[in-house]
Amino acid sequence: MPDNLKYTQEHEWLKIEDGNVAVLGITPYAQDALGDLVFVELPEVGRKLTKGEHFAVVESVKTAAEVYTPVAGEVIAVNDNLSGDPELIKKSFEEGWIAKIKLENPSDLEGLMDRAAYDKFTSSLD
């Protein structure tokens, strides 16, 4: 996992581009818990999201999990490649992103975990 990303307790990763765009995906921990992925439901481009709102669904052979945004803002792009190949989420951080969100309040990023804090968090689970 790269060191320059931000992480959430709901196991999303965020990469900040151009200072005001967050690229969102789900972490290897979440990918492992879900198992084989069969479907990803993407949000519509242009949708306005509030902080904490769920905006995508990742479905696996075990369960369907909602993906939450820790930041408020507008969806400016979605990764359409996931529709045909949901397993792409696991391939790499570059290819497995879900959506790009234009930040409404950059201060939403405060309080998100860095790599070290997230590693500590996941090792405290189960």
């Binding site: 818990a33 084989d36 069969v38 479907f39 479905e59 052979v61 075990k62 369960t63 949901p86 189960d126």
Partner: protein
């Protein structure tokens, strides 16, 4: 090495044309459409040679069905039926499902001509006995839950949930509380609970239970807030971790003070029946799965039946129809329009009448003492399994449990053997797997519900198989598990492909 060879053989066989696979008594069944392509006659008869139609029209058009004889069709379905594993085949420890034996006495009584041969549109005066049987069932379910208003019509558990929540919504609307839009649901809930709330137009607020596996007063208070916008809560008790919700009375009191109603999911009533009454721990409305607790057929062999029971606060809003007893001791199916406060009708006619009779038979043949023993034995059996396996598998929440026990694959996972492999191993040993990967509050869940109808020998067989899995994994003998089941009609399936590219209809 032997295991590897076996797996290779399986892969080879799976790639063979399935039509070539019938061996001995192990039939590979093709679809009737695939069988019926011969040039021999079946439902379409050949036109006799030299026959002339007097009208000039064809004697008979082709029916367009597979060309098969009656014994061919009969054998096809009988063979298929032998591949359908059921509670009548063997152990079926599916958690949160209560797959118990369906006593054949139920079937005998439901087939009596006075029950089996009547029609829902017959005049009431000619079906007084049937209506009385429904009325008696209403009364008994009211007594067992201490929720005295009972509607028998919902056709399944999820339908009962919907009826229950719509009853709550109707009550709020009739009492000027229609602005309440939040329903509280623990994260261990059955998936149908949040789905039902959403179907009724409610927003969800989740009560986290990961720490202790139970709803605590603190977590409940935090979710409730001031409660002004809360319509109600949906809680299963005992919950899906197999644990009794100890703080439920206090939570129910807080909810009632805030103006909300308590809906209890009745899926796990088998742990309580005859022992305690949900109305006594604050429940306002509850559905009952006749196909679980009261032994009517469950699953594809149903139909299910999910009556709802409510207390006096909610009785006026129950769905229609209800059976009422009139002052002259005759019985009447109350129809639409006879009660203006009702939330309306959710089902044609009077519900799954045949299931009402089976459930009533089961209840009367057990009696009050027998039902009490049902829940005691169900809890005993689950705790027997828990006590036998607690050293071999990880137990996320300490026992004793109620009617089902929760284990996980935490001790096995590092060797590459997961809950899925353990479930497939049970198939190899002739048993239905337990519920897997549910509840979602723990990782790699295995939820085991033996029910009271299993013998100690059956439980011991299950325990032996589970222990052998644990000891093989410990000894590093793990390769074979990835290939199981080897002796089932189908081996390891590609579940991902099945979900992504389902083939749901036959194509020529």
């Amino acid at each position: 090495m032997v295991a590897e060879k076996k797996i290779a053989l399986v892969q080879e066989q799976n790639s063979m044309n399935i039509m070539d696979q019938t061996r001995g008594l192990n039939y590979e069944e093709n679809l009737l459409w695939e069988k019926g392509h011969g040039d021999h006659p079946g439902v379409d008869l050949p036109t006799p040679k030299g026959m002339k139609s007097r009208t000039g029209l064809p004697v008979r058009d082709k029916v367009g069905l597979p060309q098969l004889s009656e014994p061919q069709v009969l054998r096809h379905f009988v063979r298929l039926s032998t591949k359908n594993y059921s509670i009548d085949h063997g152990f079926f420890p599916l958690g949160s499902c209560t797959m118990k034996h369906n006593p054949r006495l139920n079937e005998k009584i439901a087939r009596l001509p006075g029950f089996g041969g009547i029609h829902p549109m017959q005049p009431e005066s000619t079906v007084q006995g049937a209506l009385r049987a429904m009325y008696e069932l209403q009364e008994i379910l009211g007594e067992l839950t201490n929720l005295r208003g009972v509607c028998l019509t919902p056709a399944a558990g999820a339908h009962g949930e919907l009826a229950g929540l719509m009853t709550i919504r109707r009550a709020h609307e009739m009492n000027g509380q229609g602005h309440r839009k939040i329903v509280l649901v623990p994260d261990s809930a059955h998936g149908t609970n949040p789905a039902t709330a959403a179907m009724c137009g409610y927003a969800l607020r989740v009560i986290p239970t990961k720490e202790s596996g139970r709803v605590t007063v603190e977590a409940f208070k935090a979710a409730l807030g001031d409660g002004k916008d809360v319509a109600g809560m949906m809680v299963t008790n005992p919950n899906t971790c197999g644990l009794f919700e100890r703080d439920i009375i206090e939570c129910a009191d807080l909810l009632h003070k805030a103006g909300g109603y308590f809906y209890c999911d009745g899926a796990n009533f088998n742990a309580l029946v005859g022992k305690i009454r949900p109305g006594d721990f604050g429940v306002d409305v509850m559905h009952i799965n006749l196909h679980k607790t009261f032994s009517t057929p469950h699953g594809g062999g149903g139909p299910g039946s999910g009556p709802i029971c409510v207390n006096e606060k909610l009785r006026p809003y129950l769905p229609m129809p209800l059976v009422v007893k009139k002052p002259d001791d005759t019985y009447h199916l109350e129809d639409d329009g006879e009660r203006t406060t009702t939330m309306g009708r959710l089902k044609g006619f009077q519900g799954q009448f045949g299931m009402h009779i089976r459930a009533l038979t089961y209840i009367l043949s057990h009696g009050a003492d027998g039902l009490k023993q049902v829940s005691e034995d169900a809890v005993l059996n689950a705790n027997y399994i828990l006590s036998q396996l607690k050293e071999d598998f990880y137990v996320p929440f300490d026992g004793p449990c109620m009617h089902e026990c929760l284990l996980t694959d935490k001790l096995q996972k590092d060797s590459g053997i997961t809950t899925l492999d353990i479930a497939k191993t049970l198939i190899e040993h002739g048993m239905h797997p337990m519920t897997i990967f549910f509840p979602l509050v723990v990782s790699g869940a295995m939820l085991i519900e033996p029910t009271e109808t299993e013998s100690k020998e059956t439980l011991d067989h299950f325990v032996t198989v589970m222990k052998s899995v644990a000891s093989d994994v410990k000894a590093g003998d793990v390769e074979k598990f990835h290939g199981y089941p080897l002796s089932a009609p189908r081996r390891r399936l590609d579940e991902t492909k099945a979900a992504r590219e389902p083939v749901l209809r036959w194509k020529e």
